[in-house]
């Protein structure tokens, strides 16, 4: 079985020989997956600030850098480099992370990055993909490699059983009248199961791309329901997209429930990703409870 990470590596390596614009910059993690003999493949050692700076310089010289590491070391540690070396220099790059919020919780808090999408949300002009299946990674990457914009792709070990088309906007997977649930990336299967278990008469939208946010798609979905009640289920920090839901629905009275990795506590627990899902009410039971209480009446 192919993981998202393997799909990413394959998409890059399939293109790098043919497209002289593509470069890869790593800081040890995954570096052995890329052809080190290619002069456009650069590993900088365990130096994440310089990883982003070098990517900036390559982009300034006309290349299309792919920058890759484990999420906290790709996004949080060199955050100012992302802000200034990529955004402020007005260059493009494709940032691809693994590890997500807590893919490997036995490694503890240092290897967890539930705040990555929220951090990118502080910076203008970033496209953010949160694929839910390895087969969604390939088309997203292929498009990103050809473009010259700023792209963040958040890969995870968690995935849905089936891939879905990854177009510009949200995909409607279920129609209902009681409200709308937006399920982001790997949250989809659990959301669908929770909605079915609760017999909730709701529309379910699937989002593999969260920035730009498909405001039109959400607005249309809400118009087709009897209640402007929107639940957003994200696999990272809860409420990361709630400001965009509010902005989308500002002309009509509405309710929003934000579900995601909780903000209130520093969890000092190891265990499995499933343990952490349960702790954050992101398992089917927790999501079912949220659906039941929010879409009541």
């Amino acid at each position: 079985m192919t993981t998202m990470r393997q799909a990413f590596v394959k998409a890059v390596n399939d293109e790098i020989a043919a497209d002289p614009r593509i470069a890869v910059v790593t800081a040890v993690i995954s570096s052995n997956e890329f052809p080190q003999e290619n002069e456009r493949v650069v590993d900088v050692g365990i130096r994440e600030q310089t990883m982003v700076g070098v990517a900036s310089g390559l982009a300034l010289a006309g290349l299309r850098p792919v920058v890759h590491s484990y999420a906290p070391f790709l996004v949080e540690r060199p955050y100012e480099q992302i802000k200034l070396d990529i955004g402020h220099q007005d260059v493009g790059a494709v940032f691809v992370s693994i590890g997500a919020s807590y893919d490997d919780p036995a490694w503890g808090r240092t290897h967890q990055s539930p705040g990555d999408v929220a951090l990118f949300d502080t910076l203008p002009g970033w496209t953010v993909h949160v694929p839910g299946h390895p087969e969604e990674v390939t088309p997203l990457l292929q498009r990103a490699l050809k473009d010259d914009n700023r792209v963040y792709v958040r890969l995870s070990l968690h995935e849905n059983t089936e891939p879905h088309p990854v177009g510009e906007g949200f995909t409607t997977l279920r129609h209902g009248k009681r409200g709308v649930v937006v399920a982001v990336g790997p949250m989809l299967d659990r959301v669908l199961k929770a909605v079915e278990c609760e017999n909730a008469d709701v529309t379910v939208l699937y989002a593999a791309t969260v920035r730009p946010f498909d405001s039109d798609g959400l607005r249309k979905a809400v118009q087709d329901t009897d209640h402007a009640d929107v639940m957003v289920v994200e696999p990272y920090l809860e409420g990361t997209s709630s400001h965009l839901v509010s902005e989308t629905l500002q002309q009509i009275p509405h309710r929003v429930r934000s579900v995601g990795v909780k903000r209130h506590a520093e969890l000092r627990n190891y265990g499995t990703a499933e343990d952490h899902d349960a702790a954050h009410d992101l398992d089917v039971v927790g999501l079912g409870s949220a659906v039941r209480s929010f879409f009541r009446g």
Partner: protein, 220 residues
């Protein structure tokens, strides 16, 4: 260089001697007058030399040189830092013709310069990357990541100029050049006010990354 005081005064107002105090002015002048293979006509040429001002603070000397060499209009110096002026207290590459990087936050230019130099190499270009940093700026750890990486990756078309006016809070025991030399850079130490010495150092042949430490007496 005769017109530099006049151009400086358009930004500095009555501070008649401020230009002479600028630690970067002599190195910048020699670079743009005699060393860099870039003109207003070649600012987008892939084969140009790239000059990255990492130490973006105190950019009057930079703007004065860019104006004198025709990259920017002299008239825009008069209302610099105003709302719609392209010239701020830190340069913005999107707003100013000929400016290769936006700088201001310290410790960003050298890692970016490693990237542009590798990019030039990948393109088969004869272009070189020059980056100017301050000795105080070297406190930022990101520089030391880049100093090590540049040498290990053999980025021979990279020249770092360190303006050393002894601004670093705790100094650099053993000297700044040593920090580069131990990582395998070729190094030179010069009087940063001596144009002949600056020119000779910046045009010296090198087959590995090259650091020129330009010492400046702190004045005024």
């Amino acid at each position: 260089m005769q017109r530099i005081p006049e151009l400086f005064a358009r930004m500095a107002g009555d501070e008649k001697h401020e230009w002479a105090a600028a630690s970067t002015i002599d190195v910048l002048w020699v670079l743009y007058d005699k060393v860099l293979n870039v003109t207003p006509a070649t600012v987008a040429d892939p084969d140009r030399d790239r000059f990255l001002l990492s130490k973006g603070h105190g950019p009057m000397a930079y703007y004065a040189v860019l104006a004198e060499k025709g990259f920017i209009e002299e008239s825009i110096l008069d209302d610099w830092t105003s709302w719609d002026s392209p010239l701020g207290q830190h340069p913005d590459r999107v707003l100013v013709n000929g400016v290769e990087i936006s700088s201001g936050s310290l410790g960003h230019g050298l890692p970016i310069a490693v990237g542009t130099a590798i990019g030039q190499r990948v393109a088969g270009s004869r272009g070189r990357t020059f980056v100017l940093v301050g000795d105080g700026e070297l406190d930022e750890g990101s520089n030391h990541e880049a100093i090590a990486v540049a040498s290990r990756l053999g980025v021979a078309n990279l020249i770092t100029i360190v303006i050393d006016n002894r601004s670093a809070m705790y100094g650099w025991p053993g000297g700044i050049a040593q920090r580069f030399a131990v990582e395998g850079w070729q190094t030179a130490e010069i009087d940063g006010r001596d144009h002949e010495a600056v020119f000779t150092a910046l045009t010296a042949p090198h087959d590995r990354p090259y650091a020129v430490v330009a010492k400046i007496e702190k004045s005024y």
